[in-house]
């Protein structure tokens, strides 16, 4: 092989055909990029029913602006709910927060009015109410009812609970002195607590009116009461009369209290009268057991500490007595349930005060605090429970009865006196008063007649002359005594003079005087 011999090789070239796929790939990549950069998040909303929701048709709206579309509707795994998957626009991503709410907008007629009429023509849609919590949530529980208060409205969100549903429903107004300041947002029943639970909201700035001492009561209907002072008729607004409502305020004689946080629970009282019967929210229950009669000790009777009301009697625990001790015929003490409320002692109406009271009583019982039954009124026979310190009593501890703590009781000397007085009164009752009075009346008549006779006797001439006759008699007696005295003296001087008279001595004769 020589140096001038050329090497011939075949030149390799890329075919222009490849341009098409490359462009396609680039276009695809761009489309993918565009899709990821413009498409919003996909969310899942769980409803109890898919009524009015259709895949590919039902839109997601926020403040009437379309922000997404329902992609699919499927039954949940538990077959008792519906999972709605929706695709949202990218700009809607910040709206998805921890407390974002979703509900289906469709025609509704309720106490608060008629809503969703527009959807009759346009069809239903899912409303998105933006929240204010942490962002990033993608799965939500849809509301079955339209929230009464727009999310984000300034005010106070809290809960009410009561044992009876009454006439309060979602949308009912919350009134302060007859002025609507909020509304009931939701209603449900707490199975565990066995009471009705209401979500409620009060708009700012009226939320400052709600404090720890605020009480809520059912303002529905008409309150009618007849007392010795007259007839009292109370009504709420026309709306609350017709559709129900809740009012709030402070119990009589109770201070404003401290501000409350969102989510606070309040009891819903049946009416304002019940509020004043139980003006304090926080209290502690104790049981006292008495071996003597509890006659006159009614539920609601006061419990006093040295004359200061600190609570009231809740009820007699007769069922618990039977359950705990059975009917043994051994004269079991009567158990009485008391409720002591620290608010009555001007302490804050709070759980902290209840704890303070509990500790104080625990120490007090060790030092001699005992409970007794006292009589409030001898006329009516009403009784109350009195707490006092008996330092001579041996130290004792808080006991327990049917899971309630117990305060030891004592029989005071006063009770003994009461028993004696009661026995005396019983004896007096058995006395034949009418017969005695009739007899006394007869005796008085007889006495009056006798006095009349005595008066006439005294006024008679014979009796009137008695002092004079007596005086004359006494004078005569005095003279006689002097004669006897003279005779005695004569006999003493001359004993024989009784038999032998002496020579009669003539009286000395006074002579005539000189003129």
């Amino acid at each position: 092989m020589t140096d001038t011999e050329a090497t011939v090789s075949e030149r390799r070239r890329i075919s222009k055909v490849w341009i098409v796929p490359i462009v396609a790939v680039l276009l695809g990549a761009w489309m993918i990029y565009f899709t990821f950069t413009t498409q919003g998040p996909k969310i899942t909303i769980v409803f109890s029913t898919a009524e009015g929701v259709e895949a590919g048709k039902t839109k997601i709206k926020a403040r009437s602006v379309e922000v997404g579309l329902v992609e699919s509707v499927a039954l949940g795994e538990d077959l008792e709910s519906v999972e709605v998957v929706a695709q949202l626009e990218r700009f809607a991503t910040p709206l998805l927060r921890e407390d974002t709410k979703f509900w289906v907008v469709r025609p509704r007629i309720g106490a608060g009015g008629v809503s969703g009429l527009g959807t009759i023509v346009s069809g239903g849609y899912i409303e998105l109410a933006p929240g204010e919590g942490e962002p990033g949530r993608r799965e939500f529980r849809g509301l079955e009812d339209v929230p009464v208060t727009p999310v984000g409205t300034p005010g106070l969100q809290f809960s009410l609970y009561s044992e009876q549903a009454g006439s309060v429903t979602t949308g009912d107004p919350i009134l302060y002195k007859g002025f609507e300041v909020g509304r009931v947002e939701s209603t449900d029943f707490d199975v565990e607590g066995q009471h009705v639970h209401y979500g409620a909201f009060i708009d700012a700035p009226y939320d400052d009116l709600v404090t720890s001492n605020t009480r809520f009561w059912n303002a529905s209907g008409i309150s009618f009461s007849a007392t010795a002072e007259g007839v009292e008729l109370k009504t709420g607004s026309l709306q609350s009369m017709l559709f129900g409502g809740v009012a709030f305020g402070l119990p009589e004689g109770v201070g404003a209290g401290s501000p409350v946080e969102n989510g606070t629970d309040f009891e819903l009282y049946a009416d304002y009268g019940e509020v004043n019967q139980r003006p304090y929210r926080h209290g502690i229950e104790y049981v006292v057991q008495f071996t003597r009669s509890v006659r006159g000790l009614e539920p609601g009777a006061p419990v006093e500490w040295r004359g200061i009301p600190v609570g009231k009697v809740e009820r007699l625990l007769l069922e618990e007595m039977v359950r705990e001790g059975g009917m043994r015929g051994e004269g079991q003490p009567i158990a009485v349930l008391l409720r002591l409320e620290p608010g009555r002692l001007t302490l804050p109406d709070s759980e902290e005060s209840v704890e303070t009271l509990r500790k104080t009583l625990e120490a007090g019982v060790r030092n001699g605090i005992r409970a007794t039954i006292a009589t409030g009124s001898l006329l009516t026979g009403s009784r109350y429970v009195a707490l006092d310190m008996y330092r001579d009593e041996p130290s004792a501890e808080i006991g327990e009865f049917a899971s309630w703590p117990t305060i030891p009781t004592i029989s005071t000397g006063l009770e003994g006196i009461e028993v004696k007085v009661s026995a005396l009164l019983d004896k007096l009752n058995t006395l034949p008063i009418e017969r005695i009075v009739a007899s006394a009346d007869g005796t008085l008549r007889e006495l009056r007649r006798t006095l009349t006779e005595v008066r006439s006797l005294v006024a008679s001439e014979g009796v009137q002359s008695l002092p004079r006759d007596l005086d004359a008699t006494l004078a005569e007696l005095e003279r006689t005594l002097k004669s006897v005295e003279e005779l005695a003296r004569t006999l003493e001087d001359r004993p024989s003079s009784l038999i032998f008279s002496s020579d009669p001595e003539k009286d000395p004769e006074p002579k005539a005087g000189d003129r």
């Binding site: 032998f500 009286d507 000395p508 005539a512 005087g513």
Partner: protein, 191 residues
């Protein structure tokens, strides 16, 4: 033996002698003349008349020179002296006043004025003098005293003997009644 008591009795009778006869004296005032009676300005009554104890004996009392007193044995008042004095004074005072004063104790509450009299002395002396010492007190119906007076006086016996003494004592008592009546008129007029 039965004759012994009889003999003793005869001896006793033989030893006895006749005592002098007793003379009784009475304080007697002139009865008021009914035609001269005037209407009483007030109901006046004679209250208590108290006599000194030494006078509460029947006999008239004689004071001897040596300040001894002796009641007479045979010259006695015919009635208790306090009673006699009371009646005498009432009559004499009524005579002086011209109207009768009252003396009924049972109606004392109806009197407007009452006068109580105390006789401290009313006796004679052997030297022939009758002595009177008395006091009286005028009081309203309610017992409040208005005035009080005393009188001490003597009167010589016109004749000796007990009759003369009684006459002199009557003169003294008339003087006392006049003074009492005078003081009563004054008390009623000024009260």
């Amino acid at each position: 033996m039965r004759a012994v008591p009889l003999l003793c009795a005869l001896l006793l009778v033989a030893c006895a002698s006749d005592p002098p006869a007793r003379t009784h004296y009475l304080l007697r005032a002139e009865l008021p003349d009914a035609t001269r009676q005037i209407e009483a300005p007030a109901a006046i009554g004679l209250g208590r008349v108290t006599v000194a104890p030494y006078l509460l004996r029947p006999g008239l009392v004689i004071e001897s020179d040596d300040h001894q007193v002796r009641p007479a044995r045979y010259h006695v008042w015919a009635e208790p002296l306090d009673e006699g004095l009371r009646r005498y004074l009432r009559t004499e005072i009524s005579n002086v006043l011209g109207y009768a004063i009252r003396a009924d104790w049972s109606q004392r509450s109806e009197w407007d004025y009452a006068v109580d009299v105390v006789i401290d002395q009313l006796h004679g002396t052997l030297s022939g003098e009758a002595r009177l010492a008395a006091g009286w007190r005028i009081a309203r119906a309610d017992g409040r005293e208005i005035a009080a007076y005393v009188l001490s006086s003597s009167e010589p016996l016109a004749v000796g003997g007990y009759q003369g003494l009684v006459d002199a004592e009557i003169v003294l008592l008339q003087k006392l009644a006049a003074r009492i009546a005078e003081s009563l008129q004054e008390a009623v007029a000024t009260d």
